[in-house]
């Protein structure tokens, strides 16, 4: 029986069906004669499927059972290399060569390790040995060409890569090396011309568009690069390297649906590629598919080990799904060797943590980032003498329908044209109506998302910006390190992942108010606190918001609580508080609504968390996201909004209030723990904010029991808000203008 299984397993493997081979070869492991070979082939099948962790035991079994066979140690060495363990990989490749001195892949792999270690002489010697064994192998010629390029021999490298391409016209690595070598030899433009000439002479070879794509991407033309890759994929259909390049290009341009499909094909064809797994994870992140993202990352960690890049993504995903403790643990684990990216990643998850997310811890985490940055010479020193309008730069990816837009636009529009010339440094192109309003207010508009920090800073400095408002922070797409280059004499943090201090010496001030940062809060900020007299933002209600409807509870079915915040904010103490509230109000129900809940697996995972926290499943509805207009309308079904903590709602609180829904909240000590307090206080509803968990629970229960008061409040809430400082743009504009001018005058002159 086992012999039959072995034969069938080999046939399946030979037919390119490793998944079918796995159970058959597993069955054959017990075969007394063929057990060692069954283990080797099983390991190879699992490796082909990308299940690297599972492949290790059978390969180790084969290595012991087949002492003269070079393949088991070679395979194990490959896996060790993928796990970044160069020493183990080298030892295994040597072991392979000890068993078979003519094992060409082992010689090539050792040469690659020598090259990585900077020992080019050893690398050349190993490759020469390999070529003696197999003179026709193009991979060896390519490896030598790569060495040439590394040693500054661009023309020789181009010749070597070109020769490989002549034999294998769709060889992606050769095409890339050719492009790199031509660029080094001729410069970008001439290299593109050379590649275009090659394509004209041989139009159906995939190598030319692949080389063109690399050159175009390097020249900052990602759309043009994608066009070439699309062609390459048509000319060489199904080829793993081409799919991988196409998948990366699609993901880079946010073509999520297409990118996911192509990346999954590429991973199937190239399971040992860590970058592809990470790329797929980020595509799923952008599509709010958190459970699918976690699944990809967990498998990748199992296969490749705890790579820092995997841990960073895992931390974000765990936090975003509401598992803040696990998220922070992953973020902390990535810090050794993770560099500045890991420090930024940590501060991105820390404010959500129910215990560790304090103002003090956030300042420490922010300062760790500031301390890790290398110093950069300042582009400007001091301010110009007074006179004329102040030039105000806006640095953000959110200049449109985005929390930054809803919370800043009305105030910026209200700044007097004669006193403030606005210049936008947009990190993400947007065309929505709010973006158009920003464009109508800004005298100049620069799309700078494709530039690096230094180039953005140089542009800002060249434009003579007096005050730079940083509106992105450590959030997704933010570029706070532009400030490090000191492009403006006064640099101020405002909305846009404004959850704590930036911890950067180059950030001079932070726009705030007396609720966000009461006296004494200075200790938690490296910036000077620039307190506006009312709130720190001015909310622009969406023009399409429907009128406030009647209180749903008047229908007599009990109070409906709602929370439209993202899952990252739903900590264990929040769930415990909600469980207590629902336990005290047997007729009440709770509606959670956010994009991540649109994914069935995340919905199930969240339902399990809620049930474990004691929330009654039959009284909690989990709903996915909606387009903004319909999301706003959905407040028509909510009586009271329950705000999360410690990371409270910002825009969400404003939207609930505009729709007549009051918000029960709790204030902590960090900036993000006090958004709700600021907004509610500006409406005279500061007494809806509790100071502790028990107060929060008691507040929600008491408010829910007074239906007439709720109905009366709801009826007048929009008018109250429309008359409040929270939406009074002219008043906010005057205050902002005064504060900015005052802060600017305080900057020493150049």
């Amino acid at each position: 029986m086992t012999a039959e299984a072995y034969r069938a397993g080999l046939e399946a493997l030979g037919a390119g069906q490793p998944a079918r081979a796995v159970p058959l070869l597993t069955e054959a492991l017990g075969d007394p004669e063929r057990g060692g070979y069954a283990a080797l082939n099983l390991g190879m099948a699992l490796q082909a499927l990308g299940r690297l962790a599972a492949a290790v035991p059978p390969l180790q079994q084969a290595m012991a059972a087949l002492p003269d066979h070079a393949e088991p140690p070679f395979r194990l060495g490959t896996i060790a290399g993928l796990r970044n363990d160069a020493a183990a990989a080298a030892a295994l490749f040597r072991s392979s060569l000890a068993r078979d001195p003519a094992h060409v892949p082992a010689l090539a792999a050792l040469a690659a390790l020598a090259e990585e270690a900077g020992d080019t002489g050893e690398a050349r010697a190993l490759l020469a040995r390999a070529q003696d064994c197999d003179p026709a192998e193009p991979e060896l010629a390519l490896a030598l060409a790569r060495l040439d390029l590394g040693q500054g021999e661009a023309a020789a490298a181009a010749g070597g890569a070109g020769a490989v391409l002549a034999r294998r016209p769709a060889h992606a690595a050769a095409a890339r090396l050719l492009a790199e070598a031509l660029q080094a030899e001729l410069g970008s433009e001439a290299a593109l011309e050379r590649v275009a000439a090659g394509a004209a002479a041989d139009p159906f070879a995939a190598g030319w568009p692949l080389a063109a794509a690399w050159l175009l991407e390097a020249a900052g033309q990602p759309e043009a690069a994608l066009a070439e890759l699309r062609l390459a994929a048509q000319l060489a259909p199904g080829q793993a390297d081409v799919l991988a390049a196409l998948g990366h290009a699609l993901a880079g341009l946010d073509r999520h649906v297409e990118a996911e499909a192509i990346l999954r094909q590429a991973i199937a064809a190239r399971p040992g590629d860590l970058d592809l797994r990470n790329r797929l994870a980020t595509v799923l992140w952008k599509g709010n598919r958190l459970s699918a993202m976690l699944e990809v990352l967990e498998a990748a960690v199992a296969d490749f080990g705890p790579h820092a890049t995997l841990l960073l993504n895992q931390a974000l995903a765990l936090n975003a799904i509401g598992e803040q403790e696990a998220g922070l643990a992953a973020a902390e684990a990535a810090i050794p060797g993770g560099g500045i990216a890991a420090l930024v990643n940590r501060i991105a998850v820390l404010p959500y943590h129910p215990v560790a997310g304090t103002a003090l811890r956030l300042r420490e985490a922010a300062e760790a980032i500031g301390a890790a940055l290398r110093p950069v010479p300042p582009l400007v020193r001091g301010r110009r003498p007074q006179g004329g309008a102040l030039r105000l730069g806006l640095l953000s990816g959110g200049l449109g329908q985005h929390p930054v837009g809803w919370l800043t636009l009305a105030g910026l529009e209200a700044l007097p044209e004669a006193g403030f010339t606005l210049v936008a440094y947009s990190l993400k192109p947007r065309t929505d109506p709010l973006a158009r309003r920003f464009q109508a207010r800004c005298a100049q508009w620069h799309e700078v998302g494709a530039l690096d920090d230094a180039a953005i800073a140089a542009r800002i400095a060249a434009d003579g910006i007096d005050i730079l408002l940083e509106l992105g922070g450590y959030g997704e797409g933010g570029r706070p390190f532009v400030l490090q280059h000191r492009p403006a004499p006064l640099q101020v943090k405002w909305v846009g992942a404004q959850f704590a201090s930036l911890g950067l010496a180059a950030c001079d001030g932070m726009l705030t108010d007396r609720w966000e940062t009461p006296p004494g809060a200075e200790a938690f900020y490296t910036e000077q606190l620039l307190r506006l007299p009312d709130g720190y933002v001015c909310y622009l209600p969406p023009p399409y918001a429907p009128p406030v409807g009647p209180l749903p509870a008047l229908a007599g079915a009990g109070v409906t609580f709602g929370c439209f915040n993202n899952l990252a904010k739903l900590t264990a103490p929040v769930l415990a508080a909600w469980a207590a509230i629902l336990a005290a109000l047997p007729e009440a129900c709770l509606i959670l609504r956010t994009h991540a809940l649109g994914e069935a697996a995340t919905r199930d995972r969240t339902a399990r968390r809620l049930a474990a926290a004691g929330l009654p499943p039959d009284r909690v509805a989990l709903e996915g996201g909606l387009p903004h207009r319909r999301l706003i309308e959905a407040y028509g079904g909510i009586d009271i909004a329950l705000d999360p903590f410690p990371y409270t709602g910002g825009l969400t609180v404003c939207e609930a209030l505009w729709m007549g829904v009051p918000v029960v909240a709790m204030a902590g000590d960090s900036f993000c723990a006090r958004h709700a307090l600021s907004h509610l206080s500006n409406l005279g509803l500061g007494d809806w904010v509790a100071g502790d968990h028990a107060g929060y629970v008691a507040q929600a229960i008491a408010r829910a029991r007074d239906i007439p008061a709720l109905a009366a409040l709801r009826q007048g809430l929009r008018a109250r808000m429309a008359q409040s400082p929270l939406t009074d743009a002219p008043r906010f504009g005057r205050n902002l203008a005064g504060l900015l001018r005052q802060a600017w005058i305080a900057v020493p002159e150049a």
Binding site: G162, L165, A166, R167, P169, A170, G198, A201, D202, P203, F204, A205, A206, G207, W208, P209, A212, E223, A224, L226, A227, E228, R230, L231, Q234, L235, P237, E417, P433, L434, R436, R437, Q439, A440, R441, C442, A443, W445, P542, P543, Y544
Partner: protein, 484 residues
Amino acid sequence: MSDTSQAAPEASLGARLHASARQLVRDHRPAEALPMLDRLARLPGLDAAAALLRAEALAALEQLPAAEAAADLALAADPAWSAALQLRARIRLARGQARGAIDDAAAAVMATPWDAGAKALLGTALLEDRCFDTAIWFLGEAMRADPANPGTQSRLGQAFMRAGRHEAAAEILAHCVAASGGAPALVALQAQNALLAGDAAGAEAMLRAALAAGATDAALHSVLAHALLTHGQMADAAPHFTAAARLAPRDGYLAHLAAAANGIGTDRATDSYVTALFDGYAPRFEHSLLALGYRVPGLFRRAIERALPEVAAGRARLGPVLDLGCGTGLVGVALADYLGGPLTGVDLSRGMLEQAAAKHLYAELLQLEIGAALDRAWPPQAVVTLADVLIYLGQLEPVIGGCRRALAADGLLVFSAESFTPADPAGQGWRLLPSGRYAHAPAYLRHCLAAAGFAILEWREEDLRLEADGPIGGVVVVARPVGH
């Protein structure tokens, strides 16, 4: 990858490339289809299909000359290919070649008479060529065949508007606005129609409602600013011109108005400003000027009579006359009975030139910018006139110098200018007024004339026209080359 080892295309490649490229063009990703179309064109029998898709992609990328060349290739394979004809018509329209677009669209209508899209396109091309009645007929035909097509409906509304049939336009545009849920471009069109019909308050109300509802568009701000200007509310109009110019940064007309409204000087109005200004108002221009008490042509006649008594007495006639910025031809009318030589009119606006042509007084009418016109080699002119032209120019040296070259040694230069008294006599000799017009300091005018070799024969301060807030003062000047 050398010539000797070319990769041969597999059999199914053509179908794959075509399907994939077509899908990308349909998905509004034309640039991503171009490399595939390059390869597709190299496959036997697929060059025409590739050329059509390529033309479509390049047109979407606004690479219009290349798009037209690709459409030419597609049509070379089949000159009666309706889809290719329609595509080339759209490309030609985008290039401002209305006549060529009419030819293509008409050929498409003949090739596929059942195609409502072809008729709508022909109507649109005719509209651009200012053949309003025919345009309305074809657009009406298209609408009868495809009544729900929003593009055809709005074009028809536009055609009624431009033909001056404002009630019909208002009805159809109101329907378009409602059906689109208040699309900003359509609201702007609806308001423009109201404005042209004389209902500035109604236009303003529509535009303010759209802006309050969160719509933001250059056209909304621009039409609102114009509506406010009709009430003389320059200060209120200025921020809307500014917003419009920022939202349409390539629009020279708006850039000029925004600069003017905000007191920022430029040395001349852009050609696109002047063209847009007068093309939009040509049929009403003469009427509105006369209603405003426009006196300049009459003042020119009197000035010439004083300078040339023999002509005034009927004993001599004027030699060749060059009327720069002739507009609807009012100077021609004023001088008609004195003409002995050919009268040539120059203007940027085709609409204006058509009105001038209808007067049958001009030997030649040229659609040209004045600087370009003066660069031509002219037979010596007896008179060169610039009636209300200098208000579109800040710096005058090049134009006055050009006039000197065009004139005969004993010729006359006659021009009008709005004037101002500069606070600083040594400062700039011209200034851009909030109205978008330029005024010139008398000293600067004298300097320009002297520098070009003119002697002033007559300098008269005059009210050039009446406006809502009173007469607009200026000068009418007659000058002759020095040494005569």
